[in-house]
Amino acid sequence: AQRVTQPEKLLSVFKGAPVELKCNYSYSGSPELFWYVQYSRQRLQLLLRHISRESIKGFTADLNKGETSFHLKKPFAQEEDSAMYYCALSLSYNTDKLIFGTGTRLQVFP
């Protein structure tokens, strides 16, 4: 079955430290992967998608099909990055539903 795994429920770092939020998926086809973020008292919103190969708010994520991973990275964490982060998988190009991981809470201490 298709699945998205985020092994860490909580990740705590100090400001300026590198951050890597792990995401692994299981899907035999060609996946499309996303990272969503939910800041305190705000709605869930898209952070980035693998197909765009972009950097948003200093975050990047590379799809590694060999390791079936899509880890989210930032070289220098900021306090405002503290939030819940969800990795999500879209199965193919003819369906719109997303499969979400359980989320990782990132805490960045000053």
């Binding site: 996303f34 719109d96 539903k97 499969i99 979400f100 989320g103």
Partner: protein, 115 residues
Amino acid sequence: GAGVSQSPSNKVTEKGKDVELRCDPISGHTALYWYRQRLGQGLEFLIYFQGNSAPDKSGLPSDRFSAERTGESVSTLTIQRTQQEDSAVYLCASSLNARDFYGYTFGSGTRLTVV
């Protein structure tokens, strides 16, 4: 409206009662999705509406769950004979078109508690 609106924001109901949750998508958005998030778990897909096509109901967990959408407007998610395991945050999202993931906008959710 400016965003996806969900009501009520909180609902406490007794086990066995029926509940209706409402979602007002962004005007003009043809696609509408319902997800459920139980405590400590990820978002779980429930149902998807796209224009006038038949909805994708593959995520509905049981026949106690149903949803309707009139045209490209409001959607209601109905849970009959609620059970304690139905307690969750129910999230609605809408997007302009199919696969418009950049425009995939979530509401703030309805927190349902079944006592």
